[in-house]
């Protein structure tokens, strides 16, 4: 691959970042929303007559976007948490009612009297959502919004974490931020947030623009039910795949599933140069603890011979950075730092 086609979007991104910086310094220029506002969302069309006064957020990534938009006072309930909230929102979040750590019941959601239910995953709120369907909510006059990241070219009917047909991109996260900002009539905050994230993303990408090794083979290991057993590795189209592609690395796992189970013989055969392991506070699967993952990598007769392990090119990344969320940018930064540290960038 020549470097030219890669450089062009980089220049475009830089130009965009410069423009975005202007946007931050001049928030007064951001348009305010004209209601009724109609947007296309996950194959439906949803209309808002006014900015929602109360919103229930189902899904940690969704909650953190709403908090980033300064909407804490409008959130009447949250649910589906994987790890602690982003540090800067600790205080605000502690005042918001947590309806459930996992799926909340329909009545618990409705009970807080929301105008809008915003969900991170279609399997919670969707055509056959486990919390409630679009129809159930709309019959009670409650609008529903689902993160576009969970339905853009993604099939959620297969069970599990779904199958992604096209690669997830940060663009879809930025789209989500812009849409939510428009819905709540805080477009200036949305534009500023997107600009900040884009700037960080571009900076991380630029830091490894001159990678010595092109298409560095990488795998992302989330967890395993048994430490010695097959591992949940990132499929080729999810958030980790985007992190890898953005930085010129290559995901050696080639299936469309979000988190397929892959055997260690397969991983050894693919011989990745970098192994990214997920760090998380959850302790439910045997390999949730990153220390346990590292011990396995260093002691297993086969895994310990993979070149990433032999050369100590293993990096720990927060699990939230591996999901379609604003933390995806943290993931890009973490891997970029690792590529430089391992001497794979000039």
């Amino acid at each position: 691959m020549s470097s030219d086609p890669k450089r062009r979007p980089f220049i475009l991104r830089l130009a965009f970042a410069v423009l975005a910086t202007f946007a931050i310094s001049a928030p007064a220029f951001a348009a305010s929303t004209t209601y009724p506002l109609t947007i296309a969302n996950c194959g439906r069309s949803i209309t808002f007559d006014r900015a929602p006064g109360k919103v229930v957020s189902i899904g940690q990534a969704m909650t953190e976007i709403l908090l980033s938009l300064g909407l804490a006072d409008r959130i009447t309930g949250t649910a589906v948490w994987f790890s602690p909230v982003l540090k800067q929102f600790d205080a605000e979040n502690s005042k918001i009612k947590r309806l459930a750590d996992n799926d909340p019941s329909f009545e618990a959601v409705v009970g807080t009297g929301p105008d809008l239910v915003a969900a991170e995953f279609e399997w919670h709120v969707g055509p056959s959502g486990s919390v409630g369907t679009y129809d159930q909510f709309s019959k009670l006059g409650i609008n529903t919004y689902v993160a576009p990241a969970d339905c853009a070219a993604k099939d959620n009917t297969t069970g599990g974490d779904g199958v992604r047909k096209e690669m997830l991109k940060t663009e879809v996260i930025y789209q989500e931020i812009a849409e939510l900002a428009a819905i709540f009539n805080v477009q200036d905050r949305g534009e500023a947030l997107v600009a900040r994230l884009k700037e960080r993303e571009d900076k991380a990408i630029a830091s490894v623009a001159e990678t010595r090794v092109k298409d560095i083979p990488v795998v992302f290991w989330f967890s395993s039910k048994e430490v010695d057993g097959e591992a949940f590795m990132a499929g080729r189209n999810g958030a980790p795949a985007y992190i890898m592609r953005a930085l010129g690395a290559k995901n050696v796992i080639a299936t469309n599933e979000e988190w397929p189970l892959v055997g260690w013989e397969t991983v050894a055969g693919l011989n990745p140069a970098i192994i990214v392991i997920a760090g998380m506070d959850r302790r439910r699967y045997a390999a949730d603890d990153p220390a346990i993952k590292l011990t396995f990598l260093n002691s297993d007769p086969v895994a310990s011979r993979i070149s990433a392990v032999e050369k100590k090119q293993v990096v720990v990344m927060d699990s939230q950075a591996m999901s379609p969320s604003i933390r995806l940018v943290d993931g890009i930064e973490t891997l970029a730092v690792a590529i430089r540290q391992f001497g794979l960038a000039k």
Binding site: K225, A254, T255, Y285, V302
Partner: protein, 325 residues
């Protein structure tokens, strides 16, 4: 035996990474006979630590599950009896799920230990219930059905109230059976249990023949019915619990393999038990090869393979052995 050796040979040779046969032989020679052929450590690890241990656990588990099926069918005089009917598998699942989701004893107890205790607890409960109901083959079956329902309900309760979607998928995979993560320590546990179980089964081959004619006939032949039934039921519980705790809940093998063997060698247990064990072993080794190679880069639960591929094979045997109308 040649068939089993061939199946294990295939299991060691087939995998995601292509390794030449010569290297495979050299790796095994290095470990077994202390030779020092120069081969890549990663290849030696894959052959010895991954594929061979996995093949031996598959073979032992298949043999053990099939034998327990054959024993239960004779003891309970019911062609539909299998290890799972006694609630053992349901109990094992509850035990494993309790550890996986509720985190009971996590850090100290492994998933397998949880499954083992769950299995033994379920069997104990079912035995008490059956004894309280007056004993007898039909009461044991009924108590087993009740026990299974109870433990399945408990598992579902824990999953629906405490697990998130990702965990639920992981549990489903485990409940369908998986040989992932099997290593030599598992071989050292399950192979002696299968071997010991086989010896005890064979010592009771004639008694099992007598049971097939009913407990009255067995008693008339001088068989201590209660004691033998208790011993052999206990043996099936231990064998199933050990297998389920290591490879998860694999259906089909215990139910169908004894019938397949009966079609091939007849109902006399002296021949039926070895045939059942052997066919069970070969079947599981082949099913495992399919489970880990059918989807590139991914693994299918072995329980899906045993049923998807086993059912048509069984249908074929049924058809071939059809009675003249």
């Amino acid at each position: 035996m040649a068939g089993l050796t061939l199946a294990i040979g295939l299991a060691v040779s087939i995998g995601e990474i292509v390794i030449p046969l010569r290297t495979i032989a050299e790796a095994i020679a290095n470990r077994m006979f202390g030779t020092s052929f120069a081969i890549k450590p990663i290849h030696e690890g894959i052959i010895w630590d991954y594929r061979l241990s996995r093949a031996l656990v598959s073979a032992s588990s298949g043999a053990a599950l099939a034998m327990t099926g054959a024993m239960l069918q004779a003891l309970l005089r019911n062609p539909l009896a299998e290890p799972y009917v006694l609630g053992i598998s349901a109990g094992a699942s509850t035990g494993a799920v309790a550890i996986m989701i509720l985190g009971i004893g996590s850090g100290v107890l492994t998933l397998s230990t949880g499954a083992f205790f769950g299995a033994v607890a379920a069997f104990g409960l079912v035995s008490l219930l059956a004894a309280g109901a007056g004993g007898g083959a039909d009461r044991i079956l009924l108590a087993g059905v009740a026990g299974s329902q109870l433990f399945n309900a408990l598992t579902s309760y824990i999953v629906t109230t405490s697990a998130n979607a990702e965990q639920a998928r992981g549990i489903m995979f485990w409940l369908l059976g998986s040989l992932s993560g099997v290593r030599w320590t598992d071989v050292l546990l399950v192979t002696p249990i299968a071997g010991g179980g086989f010896v005890i089964c064979m010592l009771h081959a004639r008694v099992l023949d007598a049971f097939a004619f009913g407990t009255d006939s067995a008693a008339a032949l001088g068989v201590p019915v209660r004691r033998v039934r208790l011993t052999l039921l206990g043996l099936t519980a231990v064998m199933t619990a050990a297998v389920v705790s290591i490879v998860g809940s694999i259906g089909f093998v215990g139910l169908v393999i004894p019938h397949a063997a009966r079609f091939l060698v007849g109902p006399a247990h002296e021949r039926l038990l070895p045939a059942t064990a052997l066919i069970g072993a070969i079947f599981m080794v082949l099913a495992d090869i399919v489970s880990r190679t059918i989807i590139p880069q991914q693994v299918l639960p072995i329980g899906v393979v045993t049923a998807l591929f086993g059912a048509p094979v069984f249908a074929l045997i049924l058809y071939k052995a059809r009675r003249p109308v």
